[in-house]
């Protein structure tokens, strides 16, 4: 999930455009980490040293590792160790952006340093994502949304990001949440979750985005906005909310229930208090996750 958060950070800071971000994200699964990138990440080489070795590589027919060893930047053992390391996807995202010329290795080094500071990612190995860090990043979304930062809220949004990764695709970036009095529906599906309070959850998007979203979710090629597309969005929200209430009832032994999902083609949705829009940008369009409470 660090990759999606890094995407959000880059967009927020104006360091990339959405197009540049999605271009780089779409190649994640086919990209292999380069020795130079991981050496910077592990703090064994500076970006300047990596750039120097890359320059030498264009003039000498040698491997990057060999050049770095010859120049005394890395030892044999360090090269072998780096080659066997697993690297988190967000570093790959940075590498892709460097390859696309969006920024240099030196800029990437600075950006990742700032990103880790901002998000309080202290664990440099990062082979496994740290739950406390994920919680801290998600809590910031709730602070921006002026919503209470409690365990159940954090669980809901984390699960939503995981459901998107699992059922729709990892190439998305969460955008900055917005607080609203009410939300005007474009097209969407609503579902009410009831415990001590009632929450209306809703996913909303335009029809073209709905077709692309449904195609990915159902693993079918939908060409037009029809009942299957609408049902796919219903199923996604129902599945996600279903997983949520299972987690809540198993973890907290709380009584929590789910009403059947409802399709909404127009009108506005609102809650007793307010609505928060958590937009999520995919290359095919933006999905708005709305929570009214």
């Amino acid at each position: 999930m660090y990759t999606q958060f890094l995407g959000n950070y880059l967009l927020q800071k104006g360091l990339v455009s959405q197009e540049q971000l999605f271009n780089a994200m779409s190649r994640l699964s086919q990209t292999h980490i380069k020795l130079g990138t991981i050496a910077i990440h592990e703090g064994l080489m500076t970006a300047r040293e990596v750039d120097e070795c890359l320059y030498v590589q264009t003039r000498e027919d040698k491997r990057f590792g060999e050049i770095a060893i010859n120049r005394g930047y890395l030892t044999d053992e360090q090269v072998n160790e780096l080659l066997s390391k697993q690297t988190p996807d967000y570093i790959l995202l940075g590498q892709n952006l460097v390859e696309d010329g969006v920024f240099s290795y030196e800029q990437l080094e600075r950006i990742l340093f700032d990103y880790k500071n901002d998000t309080e990612i202290y664990d440099l190995s990062l082979d496994v994502e740290n739950q406390d860090t994920i919680n801290a990043i998600i809590s910031k979304f709730f602070q921006l949304a002026e919503m209470p930062v409690d365990e159940i809220n954090v669980m809901y949004l984390e699960l939503m990001f995981n459901s998107l990764i699992r059922f729709v695709g990892e190439d998305f970036s969460p955008l900055t949440p917005m607080v609203l009095e009410e939300y005007p529906v474009t097209f969407g599906v609503s579902q009410c979750i009831s415990s001590e309070k009632e929450y209306i959850t809703h996913i909303d998007c335009d029809r073209e985005t709905a077709i692309a979203f449904a195609s990915r979710y159902a693993k079918e090629d939908f060409l037009e906005f029809d009942e299957y597309v609408m049902a796919a969005l219903e199923d996604f929200l129902n599945l996600h909310n279903g997983l949520f209430i299972v987690n809540v009832s198993n973890t907290y032994s709380k009584n929590i229930s789910l009403a059947p999902p409802e399709i909404k083609m127009d009108g506005v949705i609102y809650g007793e208090n307010k609505c928060v829009d958590f937009p999520v940008a995919y290359p095919f369009g933006t999905i708005h996750l709305i929570i009214c409470y």
């Binding site: 159902a218 009942e227 049902a231 219903e234 199923d235 129902n238 299972v246 789910l258 059947p260």
Partner: protein, 126 residues
């Protein structure tokens, strides 16, 4: 898998889930008769009319939910073979479904292999 003469009932309120489940059973179980319903009330009615050998049914459905339909079908036929296919899998709900006589539970989104294994096990085709 040839299971000529057998009947399979698929019941889900989601048109997409129903289509995907139907596509899967039709591909796996050749020669069978397929019936579909879109809520718990239809499931009970279709069961009584057609006496299917195997039922795949969702839990959260309008008009009559899956557990009520399950209980009514089992009251009517003690030997009914009903498989719950649902995204909502709270332990309480699962316990209730098993107590009411569900034979198995498949979590959505399902894998075609899970459906195949159930059909092989329950209808004996290989």
């Amino acid at each position: 898998m040839d299971i000529t003469g057998k009947k399979i009932l698929v019941c889900d309120d989601s048109v997409l889930a129903r289509k995907q489940l139907m596509d899967a059973v039709k591909e796996i179980a050749t020669g069978a008769t397929f019936i579909e319903g879109k809520n718990g009330a239809e499931a009970v009615e279709l069961y009584k009319n057609d006496k299917p050998d195997l039922v795949f049914m969702d839990i959260v459905m309008p008009e009559k939910d899956g557990t009520t339909a399950l209980s009514e079908i089992r009251d009517y036929d003690d030997n009914a073979t009903i498989i719950i296919v649902s995204s909502v899998g709270t332990q309480d709900l699962l316990k209730k479904a098993i107590q009411l006589g569900a034979k198995d539970f498949i979590q959505k989104p399902f894998e075609k292999n899970q459906i195949k294994e159930i059909i092989e096990l329950r209808l004996g085709g290989k």
